[in-house]
Symmetry: D2
Subunit: 345 residues, 4 copies
Amino acid sequence: MKAVHKSKPAPGAEYGLVDDIVLKPDELLVKVHRASICGSDLPIYNWTAWAPKRFKTPSTFGHEFCGTVEEVGKGTRDFKKGDFISVESHIFCGLCYQCRNGQRHVCHQVKIIGVDCPGGFAEYAAVPARCAWKHKDDTLKDIGSLLEPFGNAVYSVLAEDVSCKSMLVMGCGPQGLFSVAVGKASGADPIVVVEGSKYRAELARKMGATAVVDPDEINSLDHALKAGDVPDGYDVVVEMSGATTAIELALKAVRMGGRVSAFGIPPRRVEIDWANDVIFKGIRVYGIVGRQIFETWYKTDHLLRSGQVDIRPLITHTFPLKDFEKAFATMSSPERKCGKVLLVP
Amino acid sequence: MKAVHKSKPAPGAEYGLVDDIVLKPDELLVKVHRASICGSDLPIYNWTAWAPKRFKTPSTFGHEFCGTVEEVGKGTRDFKKGDFISVESHIFCGLCYQCRNGQRHVCHQVKIIGVDCPGGFAEYAAVPARCAWKHKDDTLKDIGSLLEPFGNAVYSVLAEDVSCKSMLVMGCGPQGLFSVAVGKASGADPIVVVEGSKYRAELARKMGATAVVDPDEINSLDHALKAGDVPDGYDVVVEMSGATTAIELALKAVRMGGRVSAFGIPPRRVEIDWANDVIFKGIRVYGIVGRQIFETWYKTDHLLRSGQVDIRPLITHTFPLKDFEKAFATMSSPERKCGKVLLVP
Amino acid sequence: MKAVHKSKPAPGAEYGLVDDIVLKPDELLVKVHRASICGSDLPIYNWTAWAPKRFKTPSTFGHEFCGTVEEVGKGTRDFKKGDFISVESHIFCGLCYQCRNGQRHVCHQVKIIGVDCPGGFAEYAAVPARCAWKHKDDTLKDIGSLLEPFGNAVYSVLAEDVSCKSMLVMGCGPQGLFSVAVGKASGADPIVVVEGSKYRAELARKMGATAVVDPDEINSLDHALKAGDVPDGYDVVVEMSGATTAIELALKAVRMGGRVSAFGIPPRRVEIDWANDVIFKGIRVYGIVGRQIFETWYKTDHLLRSGQVDIRPLITHTFPLKDFEKAFATMSSPERKCGKVLLVP
Amino acid sequence: MKAVHKSKPAPGAEYGLVDDIVLKPDELLVKVHRASICGSDLPIYNWTAWAPKRFKTPSTFGHEFCGTVEEVGKGTRDFKKGDFISVESHIFCGLCYQCRNGQRHVCHQVKIIGVDCPGGFAEYAAVPARCAWKHKDDTLKDIGSLLEPFGNAVYSVLAEDVSCKSMLVMGCGPQGLFSVAVGKASGADPIVVVEGSKYRAELARKMGATAVVDPDEINSLDHALKAGDVPDGYDVVVEMSGATTAIELALKAVRMGGRVSAFGIPPRRVEIDWANDVIFKGIRVYGIVGRQIFETWYKTDHLLRSGQVDIRPLITHTFPLKDFEKAFATMSSPERKCGKVLLVP
């Protein structure tokens, strides 16, 4: 079969033939229908940051994908050839304390598809059956690879109820844009975003943002509070950017007794005014990783299927799988003029 | 009346006559029965750290106290001369969003008795009636000044249920010791503490600690996990020390998906491994300040009155109010050989 | 001053002069701007059911109203002449366990304005300052009497998060209609209602209901499940009708592990299949009375002020206060062809 | 192999040879070490109530048991011959909404071992691997069959936090006695029980009950409130008896805004004062069935292993499996002079 393959520990990847998959008893063989590029695929592609320490070549990457079941492992239940599935990228063990207490997303044995084992930038992929989300019908077929990343935002925003609450979203890459949409559908109001790119600011408004604030302006905290007419701070702040300045701003912009969901990964350690911004404010900070399996998936599916959220406008580019280099170039452009980028095998 | 008085912006204080109190309509005049010294009284006394920026001289300090109502303001309800009360030190407005949404402890207009207005190291004190906790009887009379600080620990520990959960307490000053007792009474197990003072380690064991770990030993994190037989980390970590190294250790010692209550105030900004210790672990961090008014007070009263917790062994020193200098010397000794120190007017 | 007055323990009431109000220190004198009729005003007016046992004549009734502060009691804070307020009808003591633990709506000493003391079907009314909700501006002035009843629905629906949840509303009087609107604004989907009146069914659709089911049809349970495409039952059922058959249907229509909010008051004891419908289904039943003070008020104000909910279409009739008899006739008509009925002093 | 076998649809059972088990790929073959008799085994044995409608003869019953893994199905993970396990009696599908949202105990496809398929009153039993709770060591080996029923009480009591809360337990069969112990270990205080049998009242006191009230005395509600010194009602009421009068008393004895856990199964429909006892009191009623899988199991294991709870005193009788008739006679005696009754194959 053909795949986007990283044959050696260096920048770049190749499109070509790789060995066929030998299916394990608990796996499904999936014919990939759509894959999408995650921000975390860039270090693997460019061989930067954490990637050389964790990714073992040769292998195939890509963890946002969907497809049709071609073959079911002998030990699986509930799936059959032809089922259309989206893939939960975190392979959880199902047996540890976290897995048996509603926290599979932080399983102690977790492996990530496309990072710790071959992924979905390929014609076919093997997926443990317990990581498969079976679709009822074809309604979401063309956006099936987006349930995984959209789920990050669903979990980040809905870690607590947002109905009747003011919300600030830090950063409007795809995750921030998704967050705006989830907040909008769930009754958050106002929803203000902090984003420097005008292109993305425009997308944020389309998804339902009340106002957009430029993080590089002087007194951006004041601007953020004024934009939402919340002089005492936001009920909820969703940090999707990973910028260290944004993390600090998030803690300052939340109201006394409010909630911060921290999703964006900063590139280094972060210095925090723990006394004034965490303790004296009496806030709650939630570290958000992945999405709750499968609590979040039900919400994700519900929001998209019902039409309460339409994420199709955020798919700004689609490329054939073999043109993956163009896709990565689009994702890496300094103007950040893209939403989600899709690959079609 | 006589009081411990700070007449000028400098270290120290004097015991002597001060002006009598003129009671406001919403206040109670309290004849102080017992007062206790909080760690946060030390900067005021020594005129260090935040104190010069906030405390306005001349005034009287002390915010942990109890006493008998001598006179009731004309606008008050529900109190009469002779009632015995403990005092909530946070004067909340009662009218802001936080006050009307179960978060009076982070009221936007909050003033602290003994900091922003005259306090309880005196024969008499004025207290807004809404900050008074009326005792049913004399059961807790001799420890009435301790409900306020004990409440900090009650809120810190019980911010979420601890039944059947493993708990690590960072630092065993009075707040850490209280936390051990609260955890023990509420079903936490094991309860391990991190504390360098042997004197305090001994007190911790008396309050119910399973084991004590020295923070200065090499590999203190490993020791902490072994001491509780929790290789994957603690369900709950209660940070009562304020040491920056302890805050970092707290985040590392909590299990994936666990909870950290942050109460101890660090002296400066804190550098955190936000990505690995907050986000990827999927933890919850609660900033804890004061105690929930009056949710925590009911629990505090319940634990002490029922005998589920006995904090009397932690009262290691009692002085007449006029000997306040000895009391502060005891609190400030480098060996930290004291629990709570009481003053009797 | 003039008021709708019940001078004797019998059906009916009179419009005429009554004694002027003597204001207590903790009260506000309110010039009534709008009042609205609650379903629970009918028994008082008609002198049926519980009314003869509880309502003491002579007095004035009406508990849904708003108006302008004319005079402030000497013991009050935070209000001044000219403030526009809506009224929380439950006079809570503020000092009992419930009041100090976020449950003022079930205060042990509760008295209801317009039931246990004179109410708002009058030119002026006295209201304890602690029961006043001060408006920021005039945005909600014409619907100011509706915050109180709308709050019932807000509390009923949002007793738990409804985002991404299916919801069934039993009965579409004003409370059911409000509930549809609250669910819609907070992300519930689908929202199906059970209501026999075609007039009200039409209003329900206007408020956002997905479908309407007639409770008198054979197999109404099956119809209800089909209408929402939820063969296994609804995540949330909001019982606003008080009909004993509806209460039973509510318990049967909720899914295994789902939630029922019970607000509608049945006229007599109710027989329940406790084993099959409560225990074996593992459901949660919440008794809902009044609204959380002031948690619900903030949500109520938010939903209306932001425009997320527009309840003006539900005001179907407005009468001068002196024409109260026409207003009650409208409310009592067997065709139930009305939404909320307003009175203007 | 030998088993207690119900060969025909009639009262009684026989001890004798039955067909050997043919293991399915997802099952474990368990050599039964201990089994215990549940109250719900009595209708099966006596062929009364619901049993004839649901239990299909010929089959073997018994759903509380533990044992050693003899053989592992080919499709299983994480188990090996020699592992000691306790058994979750509810076979959940693992794939429905409830199973994937933390509510496996109310799985839509649930089957109960020993009811819907052969059970544990036998030398060997087949158990789906996903229903096995693997023990770390032999600490709980002799009480391994009791984790399942003890878990009912753990879930009933800890459905919400009980620290610092007053608790009333209705009925002190084994489930009521377990509930007392769980409440005690988790900080509930006082813990009052309602039980008519003096024998069981004595056991309740041993488990930590503060007081025992006879339900047959006049004014038992008053007695219950006085016994706990809670004139306004209990924070938590745990209904373990299933008596219709007890269910009504439970609703009346809980405080305004309190919580009722309903576990005991009444023999028929129950008439309730829905208006006064549910709605106007603003209470929460939780239907409790089984136990949360595996959230409750972790708590169950923790309480027993740590020694916070000792349930061994409640094992009042132990019989060889072949003497099952004596065991059932003990359980059925009108004096109810027994706690848990164990069978040893």
